[in-house]
């Protein structure tokens, strides 16, 4: 299968002004270079679902912004369907969709359906094709009841579903999702993850999803790229990551006496189901959560083994 995204030695440095006091800094400002992305190289095939994972400030969003033509790189190259994104902004716009978890592309005061209509006009969609596409996405993402509501009245989870629909209206082949589950509660996160995956499988959309939540990658993606301090430190299948670094699960239970008990399970020795059965037999459980190790721990583990 051909590569739809090709990244070669991509680097982004930000020049930052030091906030020194005094008149000297006004006329002779001092700058400091911060390397946000440091010579990263990877390819993504059509239809692949790739998680771009790393802690805060690792360079995930900066990479996505270069690939989606928002930022110019300092050096290196990238190709989206054979075109350099920052030089072909308008040409590649029809092939990519973007969702930024912390930003909205919907009009704050207008009903959602008006924002969708505007997106249709921006992408110059034919009226009939637009209605057909909208109807399909509205059903898939279950947002029919929200269409007449203004964006300002939606919950974060509802808004995110609408944001994803807005980004998919023009049927992009590549979808960039930058922290799509940020700030959502557990239930809303689960809904969003399932919908993203379902849509990507149905339309063979290539996904590049950034997150610092390891559950996002586990539920949606098949391949994982881990980035830390601007450098790629892991690039392989999700199965390989699970075998190598995600063998631990943290289980937290609350008993009917109100006690909180934490257990760590090594899934290589004990399957999660077996561990849960044993816990339920032993305690009167009122609440239970199973979590992956946090990103920082996985990164530490990768460095330790290297």
């Amino acid at each position: 299968m051909t590569n739809i995204i090709e990244v070669n030695q991509l680097t982004k440095k930000f020049k930052l002004k030091k906030n020194n006091s005094g008149l000297r800094s006004l006329f002779f400002p001092e700058y400091k270079n911060i390397t946000a992305v440091d010579k990263i190289t990877f390819n993504i095939k059509k239809g692949e679902r790739v998680a771009f994972i790393g802690p805060n400030g690792a360079g995930k969003s900066t990479t996505i912004k270069m690939l989606s033509s928002i930022l110019y790189p300092t050096s290196g190259t990238a190709l989206i369907k054979g075109m350099i994104p920052w030089e072909n902004r308008k040409k590649i716009a029809g092939d990519i969709g973007t969702v930024f978890g912390q930003r909205s592309q919907l009009w704050y005061n207008l009903p959602i359906q008006d924002s969708f209509a505007l997106m249709g006009k921006i992408y110059n969609m034919d009226e009939i094709a637009f209605k057909r596409r909208l109807s399909r996405l509205v059903n898939l993402f279950e947002i029919r009841d929200l269409l007449s509501h203004p964006t300002r009245s939606l919950s974060l989870g509802q808004r995110m579903r609408c944001e994803i629909v807005a980004s998919l209206l023009h049927k992009p082949q590549i979808l960039f999702l930058d922290e799509p589950t940020i700030g959502l509660d557990v239930t809303a996160k689960e809904i969003i993850r399932n919908l993203i995956k379902k849509q990507a499988l149905e339309e063979e959309t290539t996904l590049l999803l950034t997150s610092h939540d390891t559950d996002d990658m586990e539920k949606v993606c098949e391949r994982v790229i881990i980035i830390n301090k601007g450098k790629i430190i892991f690039d392989d299948s999700l199965d390989r990551l699970k075998q190598s670094y995600l063998s631990k699960k943290y289980i937290e239970i609350t008993t009917d006496a109100g006690d909180k008990i934490k257990k760590t399970v090594n899934t290589k020795d004990t399957p999660v189901k077996q561990a849960l059965d044993e816990i339920v037999k032993k305690y009167h459980v009122t609440d239970i959560t199973v979590e992956n190790p946090p990103m920082e721990e996985i990164i530490k583990e990768i460095y330790k083994r290297d």
């Binding site: 930000f14 002004k17 906030n19 928002i70 930022l71 308008k90 716009a93 930003r103 909205s104 207008l110």
Partner: protein, 266 residues
């Protein structure tokens, strides 16, 4: 053929956005109409002050109240066009600082066009009311002059818009430029509201270049009143140069855009 097709697509999008802007403004119809009326009264009270001055002085360096009325006609009409259809560019420094420019950059349309039409202030319909009213009381009303007034207002709008793009694009190169840009733009409007005849020598050079307020007052009045071909050429060429310069600076600025990734260094 391709350019015409592209133009009509942009026009369709522009009209759709304007419809949405009107819809937003009419979420509170009473407020919207009251704002238009208040804007008109506000403009007229300022013009009344000039009327009193001219009643006492007669003329200022050869300018009479009819000339001032023509100036206000062009100025208000140009500003109404800016505020209603291109005001988003005034928000550009904020979009650059907080990273909201991202949404415009991933669009298949020109990001500058999308930014410009993203904001509209309904109250500025009051400037259209003032502009047309001033033309009709200027004493220069003829059928031909009406079209010259529309043309002069269009050139004045292009200069106004281009200057605002240049000032807003400063935010790509330095931080916290919103206030500086607002102050220079305000100075441009203030200079443009004075009788052009009071600016001579070096003041006149500044008046036509750094703060190009002469394009709001001097040339439009000369053009409409005296049917001056020279004034028309200066306005036409000046607005094209300013517009191309503005687009170039904006495009250069995009290369410096950091999408709100501001790191603090002590």
């Amino acid at each position: 053929m391709f350019m015409a097709d592209n133009f009509f697509k942009m026009l369709k999008l522009f009209l759709f956005v304007q419809k949405s802007n009107l819809k937003t403004a009419f979420l509170s119809k009473g407020d919207a109409l009251a704002n238009v009326i208040m804007m008109t009264i506000n403009n007229l009270s300022f013009i009344f002050m000039w009327w009193v001055i001219f009643q006492n002085k007669g003329t200022i360096n050869g300018w009479n109240f009819g000339d001032m009325a023509l100036l206000f006609a062009v100025m208000n009409t140009a500003f109404a066009t800016f505020a209603l259809f291109a005001r988003g560019v005034q928000q550009l420094p904020e979009f650059i600082d907080n990273g909201n420019l991202d949404n415009f950059l991933v669009s298949p349309r020109s990001s500058l066009f999308m930014v410009s039409i993203s904001e509209s202030t309904f109250a500025n319909w009051g400037d259209y009311v003032t502009g047309f009213l001033m033309f009709f009381i200027s004493g220069h009303v003829t059928f031909a002059n009406f079209w010259l007034f529309i043309l002069a207002s269009l050139f004045a709008f292009i200069i106004m818009y281009s200057l605002r793009v240049i000032l807003s694009a400063l935010a790509f190169f330095a931080s916290d430029t919103q206030r500086l840009g607002d102050n220079i733009f305000m100075a441009f409007l203030t200079f443009g509201s004075q009788p052009a005849s009071i600016f001579t020598g070096w003041y006149k050079v500044v008046f036509l270049t750094i703060i190009p307020a002469g394009f709001l007052s001097l040339y439009p009045v000369e053009f409409i009143k005296g049917h001056s071909l020279q004034a028309l050429l200066i306005m036409g060429i000046g607005s094209i140069i300013f517009f191309l310069l503005a687009v170039k600076i904006y495009q250069q600025g995009l290369k410096h855009y950091s999408s709100g990734n501001r790191f603090g260094v002590r």
